[in-house]
Symmetry: C2
């Protein structure tokens, strides 16, 4: 167990502590960025642990809201333990993370807590957008900025403050990386197969999430294709339908457009941290996922 996971574990007593391992934590992108930006600060692990705890809390609640029954192939906590338990544990995780924030300057506490307010508002907008087939790119981009990017942006800015670095530059770096990260996630939902994803391919559309490639596809599609795409909204796609829709998305250029968009964001991000090998590597590792 790494230093950060040890700290998160120390925030809680059993039985609350046991829930940490029930949530697949993923790549800990936020911690990697914090530790790379604030590598000389003793407090980088504590800040990372707080941000990861917030991230876990958001996953607990998001899975209920999205009715996402699996995460990285494992059943969601609301499935195994019930929605009430998932709400309560999420609240405990959020509140504990906030209480640990008071060990930091109020500027850092403010940046992180404002990001959580954005994140939860982004989750609200996501649910609102999912009510109908959204084709408004601006609305979608604003939502993913709030839901995914804001906490990554805040992590980078807070780490820069810890390290006495240029907070605006790292804030911008985090924001770019965050949007790129979500765009790549949206792409993978379309381009990867079920086994690799740990969830059904083209799952986003089934959940009512019309992501960037789907929005772009819709705007270039003819009336027949539009009707077809609309008919899949919030439906479980048959294998053949999924194959055909995937092929149409490739053919329309929508996949390429999103790939180029993500790559451009990542290139801009890399330009902001030119001399920092670790941060460049973090951006590169995201780029490699696009392929």
């Amino acid at each position: 167990m790494n230093e950060i996971n040890k700290l998160i574990s120390g925030f809680f007593e059993p039985p609350i502590r046991d829930y940490i391992d029930k949530i697949p934590s993923g790549k800990q992108l936020r911690s990697r960025l914090i530790c790379a930006i604030a590598k000389e600060s003793d407090k980088r692990f504590l800040l990372s642990a707080i941000v990861e705890t917030i991230h876990l809390a958001s996953l607990l609640h998001d899975d209920i809201i999205d009715d996402a029954k699996t995460r990285r192939g494992a059943p969601a906590v609301f499935v195994t333990d019930g929605a009430k338990k998932a709400i309560m544990i999420g609240d405990i995780f959020y509140a504990t993370a906030f209480s640990k924030l008071s060990a930091f300057d109020s500027a850092i506490a403010q940046i992180i807590s404002e990001a959580v307010a954005k994140l939860s508002y982004g989750e609200f907008l996501d649910a609102e957008l999912s009510k109908s087939f959204n084709t408004d790119r601006k609305k979608y981009e604003n939502m993913i900025y709030l839901k995914t990017s804001a906490l990554i942006e805040a992590s980078c800015e807070a780490a820069a403050i810890l390290a006495g670095k240029d907070r605006d530059r790292f804030r911008r770096f985090g924001a770019l990386l965050g949007v790129a990260f979500q765009t790549i996630d949206d792409l993978l939902d379309i381009t990867q197969d079920t086994a690799t994803l740990g969830k059904p391919a083209l799952n986003d559309l089934s959940e009512g999430k019309v992501t960037l490639p789907l929005i772009d596809y819709y705007h270039t599609a003819d009336e027949n294709e539009k009707a077809k795409a609309l008919s899949f909204f919030k439906k479980k796609l048959k294998t053949n339908d999924a194959k055909r829709l995937r092929a149409a998305l490739y053919k329309s250029g929508a996949i390429d457009k999103s790939r180029q968009y993500a790559a451009a964001l990542l290139n801009e991000a890399k330009g902001l941290v030119e001399n920092d090998e670790e941060l460049l590597a973090a951006a590169e590792s995201l780029i490699s996922r696009i392929k």
Copy 2:
């Protein structure tokens, strides 16, 4: 609309703002205490608005967890708008309240955020205790301290810091008032009728909550009465059964015991604020509810 409600309203844009009025806010006990303790501080209204926003967030989530379909006679948000919406709005309320806390000393931010961690852990323990007929008084007291008293305690301590007063004394005052407040709420569930309560009488037992008077009654009851009480656990009581159980609770002395307990807590609390008319009045107004 008072100053505090105006501030809460200003924290949010529509459509989030609209949810404030959907949650009956009650007596705003926490704000009354903060404003009375820190009456000379310009920041008393902001601190009150933050604490009330936290309180609203906790109500949104608690009602889902307790499956409490009405609050003060009005349908709960999770009933009118769905559990997902209630989770999201609760998260937005919590996170916004935390982000506003950074306008205060880190000591105040820490006290309030630690109280929220206690509150959410108390909610977890409440749900755990409700799984079976709990007869352990200590466990129940610990749970209501966490769930109800901790935020009232923290409000008073934080207000004392704002006002440059003795924080330990006001912390103790708040803790006593909080436990008394919950004990009185537990009593009213038994002694008041449905119309006055805005919910069914003896509703706590139906929801699996074995409150102090019920615990005390259980320990003095004979085997028949014990079996009867157990048979009502998590059941909707018939009018006659409710009447009989209420009569038995009075007869056993359990009601009186809880009344005396609450009165003793309030008297101790009053002793801590002997010269403060407003705080004495707050304690008195709670005492008057016991009758």
